[in-house]
């Protein structure tokens, strides 16, 4: 029994290697790309639309609405990043119903990679919205003494993001395997269903937290500029 997919190496030449994590990620990417292409190949702008377009519109519209509610601003710039986070994690976890498939999100490397992306995206969106100087001054507020705490805060929440997702998905797979050995009938099925639900919840939590981090970085400057304007409460770091 393997804890990490990373150790299931299929190909290795020097530092370059191809393990199951990357392979399953490619599979998920290929499927997502194919479905997206098929669904958006013939888009209709009339009142009558295909079921695929309808599904995609529901998905994209729902995500836009969620982002709008959390960020209180136009979801346009955030949608590709946060939407892809959600879709990738959700789809990866969903595919675990297929036998022989292992979700890439149960690899700490994958979740770390996603958390690092969030870590980078926060200053990226902050700088894109307010400029480099304004964004950096946020780390020195209210005093220079707070700089280490800000940095620790950024790093710890990134780590928390990565470990939370990894722990949940990996535990699900692990639990399934263990239960299959202990109680072979019915109970693993129920746990599998629960696992599917947990996978979706985790995708949602990851995406929502990423949104909150990105938006809160931008919001801090907004609040400094316009102290009178009410904004969403700064969320607690989990």
């Amino acid at each position: 029994m393997e804890i990490s997919l990373d150790q299931w190496v299929l190909f290795c030449r020097g530092p370059v290697l191809l393990n199951a994590t990357i392979l399953y990620t490619w599979l998920v990417m290929a499927l997502l790309g194919l479905v997206s292409w098929l669904a958006t190949r013939r888009l209709s702008t009339s009142e009558k639309i295909s079921p695929w377009q309808n599904l995609m519109e529901v998905l994209v519209g729902g995500m836009r609405e969620q982002i709008r509610q959390i960020s209180q601003q136009d979801p346009g710039p955030f949608l590709p990043f946060i939407g892809t986070l959600f879709i990738f994690i959700s789809f990866s976890n969903l595919l675990s119903v297929l036998p022989g498939y292992h979700p890439p999100t149960c690899s700490l490397s994958t979740t770390s990679a996603l958390a690092i992306c969030v870590l980078v995206a926060v200053p990226f969106y902050g700088i894109a919205q307010h400029g480099l100087r304004a964004y950096l001054s946020h780390y020195l507020a209210p005093t220079v003494l707070m700089l280490p705490f800000h940095i620790i805060s950024e790093l710890s929440r990134t780590l928390a993001l990565a470990v939370r997702l990894f722990g949940n998905v990996m535990s699900g797979s692990l639990l399934g395997t263990v239960l299959l050995a202990v109680v072979p009938l019915f109970f693993p099925l129920a746990m599998q269903l629960l696992e599917l639900l947990i996978g979706q919840v985790q995708a949602f939590i990851f995406a929502v937290l990423a949104t909150v981090y990105i938006v809160s970085a931008a919001q801090a400057h907004e609040e400094k500029k316009q102290t009178l304007r009410p904004g969403p409460a700064k969320p607690e770091t989990q």
């Binding site: 990490s4 530092p15 990357i22 990417m29 790309g33 888009l43 209709s44 990894f166």
Partner: protein, 270 residues
Amino acid sequence: MLINWFTVAAQIVNFLILVALLKRFLYGPIVAAMTARESKIAANLTEARQKRQEAEQTEASLSEKIREIEEQRQEMLSVAGRQAEAYKKELFSQARQEVDEIRNKWAASLKREKETFLQNLKQSLAREVLVITRRALREMGNVELEQQLIEVFLDRLRQLAPEEQTAIRESVKGIGGELLITTAFELSEEIRRKIATQVQSQFGPGLAFRFATSVELLAGIELLTGSRKLAWSHGSFLDSLEETLSQAFQELEKSDKHEAGTFGTAHPPG
């Protein structure tokens, strides 16, 4: 070690590629299509609202027109009804008038016919009565009866009022003293003398007498003095009866005409 840093790097790259892929194939087209559809639907809704407004205006104007037409129709109907009523009344009165005229004419002609018939009936009745009477008297008449009649005549002559006697006397003088005595039967000489004696004793001597017979008298005697006549015969009775009857008929006719006039002007109720 749970983290393979090469895998992490590869996954970051993979993730970025996926972001680009989905942005290219999913978000871009879907968002564009949604925006286009939303704007199209909004445009459709606006257009529909406009058309609805137009339709409401049209409906309002149409219902106004329908109302006007209905009013006109009602007006025309009431006018037509009034005219028809008036025309009906006129026709009724015309018809009633015509019926009245026809009835009056008919009544008048009936009346005329009735009158004519009654007239003819009365006249023929009277004539028949007279004819029968005359025939009966003629058949009954004979010399004895004549003698009786002459006796009565002479008796009446004696009882004649003095002014009558004077008038006859005057009349006899006017024609030169000749008297015509007519009887139904031939008189005997004795009776002729008796009459002459009686007349001469009453109207003066020197009178000439001429005797004649006439079937018209039926029975009796008639004394003619030019303009005056004294008679005692059945024929003269019947003559006076005829005269009386004809006078009565004339009076009856007059009263009938009066009644017919009253009937003609009277209108039945309704």
